[in-house]
Structures are given as C-alpha cells and as structure tokens.
Amino acid sequence: MMGNGKVIEVKNLVKKFGNFVANDHLTFDVHRGEIFGFLGANGAGKTTAMRILCGLSKPTSGEITVNGFDVYRQSEAIKRTIGYMSQKFSLYEDMTVAENMRFYAGIYKLPRSKRLKKEAELRDKLHMPEIMNKLVGSLPLGWKQKLAFSIALIHDPGIVFLDEPTGGVDPITRRQFWKLIYEASANGITVFVTTHYMDEAEYCDRVTIMVDGRIEALDTPAQLMQTYGASSMNDVFLTLARKAKKAVG
C-alpha cells in the first residue's frame, strides 16, 4: 500500500505567505515506525510544515502524501489516520480524565468496547485506578502530558505528530515521556516530533534540521555528528545556524 514502508513522502514542498517563503522546497521521507525529529530555531518553518502534513493548512506547491493520502485532496482521510499533540497538551481541564477520553473517542467514532480497553490501558500506565474520575485541571503536569499522549493515540493512528511535546516540563518527566514515545514506536506507530531540545534530538532515529525555511541536514544523529565533526547535536545545530548567518551576512 505504501511503497517501501514510507508513511510520509514530501517532494519540493513550498509554502509562501505573500512574499515570505516559510518552506522552501522541502524534500524528505519518513518510514513506518520511525522516530523522526524535526529541529530548527523558532521561525525556521517547522510548525508550518507540520501543519501542512496534518491537513491544517494547504501547501503552495509540491507533492506530499501522508499515510498514502494526498494532502490536497484527501485531508479528511489524513485526519482520520493521524494523531496530534501540542505543547499545550490540549485537554479540557474542567472535565475528568474519563470524560476527556470519552469526548475524543467520540470524535474518532471509537466503539465503546475499544474505548474501555483504552481506558484500562491508561489506568495501568499511570498506576492509579482512581485517576479516571479526577478533573484534569487537578493533575500534575507530567500526568497531563501522558494523558494527552494517550488521547493522541486513542484511535490507533499510523502516525502521531508531536509539536514540542516536552516544552516547559522538567528533565525527569521529559525522560519518562520519551519512554512512551519509544513504546509507541515499538508498536509500529510513526512518531513525527518537533523540538528545540538538542539532547532530545539524539533520541530520534533520524533528524532534520531546518534553517530559514530550508532543510540544512537530514540524517541519523550519529551520522550528523560525524559529518560535522561535532560531539553533540547541539554543536551540529550551532554549526549549521552559524553557517546560515554567514550566508545572510
């Protein structure tokens, strides 16, 4: 169905807002079950590209398919087969955990039996049976994050998009969250994640670094560090960013 196990195929993606080019001929593929990191400074065009892949925005030009569906014509089908989680976690704080799950299950037309199974899974994951009837607003940040991730996966999407999912979270919680990401990836779910924590970039299978709307580098973290003679992803990023500045200046 999807050639070579590619779940996202992007060729020459261009997105312009008036004269401003937010995405300048992006080309990349994402493989099934991969953890694909999307890195870049603020304003580099990560979010714009991600919004296009999620069907929230239409590209100016380029050939883009997600889960085998075309972003121009089949955005409804794309939306059914992807999950999404933003930095804000996007939960209803004045509703309980169970009510939140039921609401999102309803949006994706999940049968009741499947919803109950998902609830049970979450209960196990959090080791807190009574959590289901707690208001989300009363939960600690780390739990909200886990809950948001579980809800993003509630309809068993092929791909889950995470928009800076660990922003504003302490390092221990971040590490725990990455465990969940690995788990999902092991279950065959493709994880597309944007971040600006460079240590997190090292957890990804492959990493894209965007600078000023263009893809400057795309490879495994190990390969990137070798290519740029850097000891960490942070150094790789700084090298690329400096190069971009020189090109401008």
Binding site: L56, E76, Y84, M85, Q87, K88, Y104, I107, Y108, F161
Partner: protein, 368 residues
Amino acid sequence: MNRFWGFIRKEFYHIFRDARTLIIILGIPVSQLLLFGYVVNTEVKDVKLAVYDQSKDDVTTRIINKLTSSGYFELVKNLDSDNDIEAIFKKGKIKEVLVFEPDFAEKLEREGSADIQLLADATDPNVARMVAMYTQNIINSFLKQEQPLATVPMQVNASIKMYYNEQLRSVFLFVPGLMALIMMLVSALMSSISITREKELGTMEVLLVSPLKPIHIIIGKVIPYLLIAFVDSLLIILMGNLVFNMPVNGSLLLLMGECFLFIFLSLSLGILISTVAPTQLIAMFMSMIGLMLPTLLLSGFVFPIESMPEVLQWFSAIMPARWFNEIVKNIMLKGVGFMYVWKQTFILLAMSVFIVFVSVRKFKIRLM
C-alpha cells in the same frame, strides 16, 4: 530621585507607544462624554404627530401650528376618521394623535371650554409621558397668549389616553430591552468566550486536526448556547407575564420565531468576535464594549431613539437590538402580526446573513 524619574519616563513610553492604552485614556473619556451627553437626554424632539381635526377651524389650525413650530412635534398625517388611529399606531412611526372635537372654536368661544383628545403610543412609557406633557403645556401657553387679560380663562379639556400601556408601566419598556440584552449576553458573549477558550487551551487545534469539519465544530459549539438563550427568552416572557402582567397580545409563535432569529444573529456575532479575538479576555472586551454597551445605550432600551442626535440615530440603526426591541414591543403590546414587523425582521435577517458570511470567510482565512 533620578532613578525615580527614569521610572516615570518609562511608564510614559509604555502609554504613548501602545495604541490601545492611548485609545483608552483619550478616546474613552471623549466618546463617553459625548455619547452620554447626547444620548442621556430626556428631551424628546421631532415627535411624529397625526391630527384628526373634526373642526378644521381657525383655532385648531393655530394650535397645530403652535405645536409644530415648537420644534417638538412634526405633523405627519391628517386623519379623516378615528378608525385610522389604531392602524397608524400599529405602524409605529407616529407617537401621538390629537383629536379635536367638532366645532372646537365655536365651543371655546361660547362655553369657554372645548375638548381635545390626546392619544399617545405608550409602548415607550417615558416618551409617551413626556409627549403628553409637552402637548398640554403648549396648548396652555397658546390659550394664555390668546387672552392675556381674560378674567375667566378659557379652558381646553385634554383627555389623555395611553395606548397599549394605560398605566405607563416602565416594565413594559424593560422586558423587551432586557430580552435583547440577555440574549446578546448569553449568545454573543458566552459563545465567543467559549470558542476563544478552546483556542487558548490549544484544544481547538486538536479538534481541527481531527476528522471533524470546522463547520461542525462551530455548530457544535453554539447549539448549547442557542438552547440556553432560547430558554432564557421564554423565562423572561413568562416572568414578565406572571410577575409584572406584561401581556403577549400577539402570536407567541411569531414572538418565539423572532427570538430565535435574534439569538441566531447574536451567535453569529459571537462567532465573528471569536475569529478575530485571540484570547478570552479580548473576546470579552469586544463583546462588552462593542456589543453590550451600544445595545444598552443605543437600542432605545434605556434612552428614546427619537431624542438622539441624527448621527447616533444612524448608529442605532445598525444595532440589531433596536429592531428586535421594536419587534418585541409590537408583538407583545400592540398585538400585531407579521405584516407589521416584516421590515424589522428582514433587517435582522439581512444582518445575520452578512455576519455569517463575514465570519465564515474569516474562519477560512485563519485556516489557510
């Protein structure tokens, strides 16, 4: 001390470089003063008057001239029969009808007194009260002027009749106005806050990434408020009737239909606000200052539209609540049918279509 002055200078930078703050500190006092100065004007001017003159003599002509030249009245129509009175009030333009008895001048001359009937549209009791008072005063001053030295003064006996609201109960004014205000509050304010809340929380994004269509999201968001506002309007009508004896003389079904239209309009305003406002706070300010305050001041709810300066009358014409007010008063008090409110209904309908069109466009642009 130097440090202190530096601090003050910094504060002035904030104020002068922020357009919003400037508007608040300069624009608000000026606009509010002008608005209240002109709107909160208990005088009534250019009241539309109709006359049923059964005498048509020299004295009645002079009384009518005196009234119209006072600046308070404007003669719009001469009636030929008292059957026309009811119909002319239902149309709603004319606020007072003067009826002179036959042989008015002759009676006044011979018997020293003559009868005049003073009929006022009391759907707005304040205006009616004032109009009647002015009329009486002008007629009295006319008589004094006519015979300054008379020992036995001539008398004009004015019998006043208040149409639709004989006891001049102000609650008859407040119920329709309050209905408009509360429906605006529930529909426009609450729905715009609830949509912007989802934007702020980021849940709107998640909903947009889901298979739900944007139009379904919007409809799903506003239907609860539609129901609540509808229940509220029923509650106000019911309480007005049970507690304050405010009648529903016209068709209840028509009234509910008009309420529905007005709620729909308010909800579309709420959606429009939510497409523009990025946060709940801004949505609240926009609803309060952009909708509530003008509705309160300019819809004829608190202050009569007739006594506003022309510019504000124009502003009042773009207030949906003004037309809704007229509709509700006409149906509840005058008991008229659709034929008498179709114009106002059409205006509300046109406004709704326009607002829905604009907000759909805005919503689409935001999604691009």
